[in-house]
Amino acid sequence: MAVETLLPSASPVRFVAEDGTRADRHGGYAEPTETRLKETYRLMVLGRRFDVQATALTKQGRLAVYPSSAGQEACQVAAALALQDNDWLFPTYRDSVALVARGLKPGEVLTLLRGDAHCGYNPTETRVAPQCTPLATQTLHAAGLAHAMQRRGEDAVALALIGDGATSEGDFHEALNFAAVFKAPVVFFVQNNRYAISVPFEKQSAAPALAYKGIGYGMRSEQVDGNDAVAVLAVLDDAVKHAREGKGPVLVEAHTYRIDAHTNADDATRYRDADEVAKWREADPVKRLETYLKDRNSLSEHEIELCHAEAEEFAQSVRDTLNAESELDPMSLFDHVYAEPTRQLQRQRAMVAAELEV
């Protein structure tokens, strides 16, 4: 395979400049249709509102923790929209908005972070793997599942989300290598938000761009402006198509930024200065897409208002869901450890049951 066919664009693919005007680094990608872009916008507004609401709920003690993805909505929404229903998404703790965009209910998405259960939805029905906390491990599962689907002749793709810090983990490299060797239909989508908790990208990797990591494994690679929703969707659409056509895996790096702290429990002022955050706020992906669509007369003020109204309603439903006390059955602790409970677990179950009687 010629190296040239694997190389990412020299600079991140971009359709829309920061001020919302048309940019010309398309890298030969087709622009998504107006309908899809409007759907992207709607879900980004919804996602932003969800994110703000979830963060607020941590302050009220309704959620144990919430890792915000504010600023990364273009990536979050495009990751969900690039997939079809039978494709699999492998998200991390940060990717709740992607799950919302894929159509999961807020209660299902937040079950994990609320502390009710490790996964609030049925992965086989939603085709969304449980949100993964051990870094980079899910990339191998995505590669394996993609390979399994390919062997079964299923016309489906897996997309694994991963952060910049997690690309330093061995599993990421093993996953790229396995996927490339087996030509598995999987897209690895790195959201380089410039920090792994407190560690800036410069201390994470000496690579000029993480997109270059794919080449060494024989994998097609691309980099994209992660705050340009048009570009992210265009690139991911193409990557998913490439994988679906059996041409092998793709690595996509989105250059973006995490506006809020790592989680609500983190103090980001210790490791990055206000100027930097202010600069990136200017690059807001939601505003950028809004300006772009408005300037092209694709989006009216009325439609924008409708999106915000829907988002408000959605936020209300998030509050309603989370404010309702959850009912948890302690006996469920013993379920699904093994296909059948062992005698040991049966005895412990009886002990806890007896304790609850008193």
Partner: protein
């Protein structure tokens, strides 16, 4: 015709591949070479590269990839080349293989087998001889089994592959080449059940994997001392078969647990605790352990000093208050 444990495992893999299309075998050097211990000998040639194939050299990759393939409906049987080389996959095994069923509240299960040649006694250099069972038995969600005989190797591997739960399958490499008569029809479920390998009335030796043969030799040698030794082969380390073990100890009133792994915090401590709790009134002496030394696995020329042998086990049996002398627990 005698069959070695390696051949019995090979037969089990072949029969499983024949019976179920979803079964796949993969790992390092399992294809053309047939594995460094030849357990997968000829399988690629007979079943094709689709069913038995070499992967890139990365243990976490092998196990993590298998997780995805099991999610996608296959039943992977993966080989880790040696015990200590499974450690790169430890995170996948403990964080994902063991937990996915529980995390997804039963929506996803991982019927997969992780085969690990383990333990020493073969003159191997460092990192080739670890007894790593406790890392896995301490992890809820995993089943951990280890055969002591070639027949059990066949039966247990068939059961492990059929199991809806992930199984860590520990193969005592020192026993790969020991042969016996094996009937390749399954004699009934072997998983989850300990077996009494030899009955006796004076003391129960509790062993598993590589130590089963040593325990049997000890039972033979013990006759000269006038001791009638019963041998229990655990086979399944997790879950633990309390019934078979405690029934035996209640009959004999004395027990010694034997394993190769270091004793401190080892599997024997769990067995002793369980037996003591359940057989306290039938015990005539404390339950003792014969284990490997609490040292990193030694260089080949010194390994005989750590491996429990017949003499050390007999010495321990002697401490079980055969006369009216008080027992001094702990050497």
């Amino acid at each position: 015709m005698t069959t070695t444990m390696a051949q019995a495992l090979n037969a089990a893999l072949r029969d499983a591949l024949k019976d179920d299309d979803r079964v796949l075998v993969f790992g390092e050097d399992v294809g053309a070479l047939g594995g460094v211990f030849r357990v997968t000998d000829g399988i690629t040639a007979d079943f094709g590269e689709d069913r038995c194939f070499d992967t890139p050299l990365a243990e976490s990759g092998i196990v993590g990839f298998a997780v995805g393939m099991a999610m996608g409906g296959f039943r992977p049987v993966v080989e880790m080349q040696f015990d200590a080389f499974a450690y790169p996959a430890f995170e996948q095994i403990t964080s994902h293989v063991a937990k996915l069923r529980n995390r997804t509240r039963g929506a996803l299960s991982l019927p997969m087998v992780i085969r690990i040649p383990y333990a020493g006694g073969i003159g191997g250099v460092e990192h080739h001889c670890d007894s790593s069972e406790v890392y896995y038995t301490h992890t809820p969600g995993l089943r951990v089994v280890t055969p002591g005989t070639a027949q059990d190797a066949y039966d247990l591997l068939r059961d492990a592959i059929d199991s809806p739960d992930p199984v860590v399958f520990l193969e005592p490499k020192a026993r790969y080449w020991s042969g016996e008569e094996v009937g390749f029809t399954r004699s009934g479920p072997a998983m989850d059940k300990a077996v009494v390998r030899k009955t006796g009335k004076d003391v129960t030796l509790i062993a598993y994997g590589p130590m089963v043969a040593t325990a049997m030799e000890t039972a033979e040698a013990a006759k000269d001392e006038g001791w009638d030794v019963e041998v229990v082969d655990l086979r399944s380390l997790s879950p633990f078969d309390d019934e078979t073990v405690t029934a035996s100890v209640r009959r004999t009133g004395r027990a010694v647990v034997v394993h190769e792994a270091a004793g401190f915090g080892g599997y024997g401590a769990e067995v002793v605790a369980r037996v003591t709790e359940q057989c306290f009134h039938q015990l005539h002496a404390p339950v003792l352990r014969v284990t490997g030394l609490d040292i990193p696995y030694p260089a080949p020329k010194l390994e005989r000093h750590t491996l429990p042998d017949v003499d050390r086990i007999l010495d321990t049996i002697a401490r079980l208050q055969w006369a009216d002398t008080p027992v001094v627990a702990g050497a």
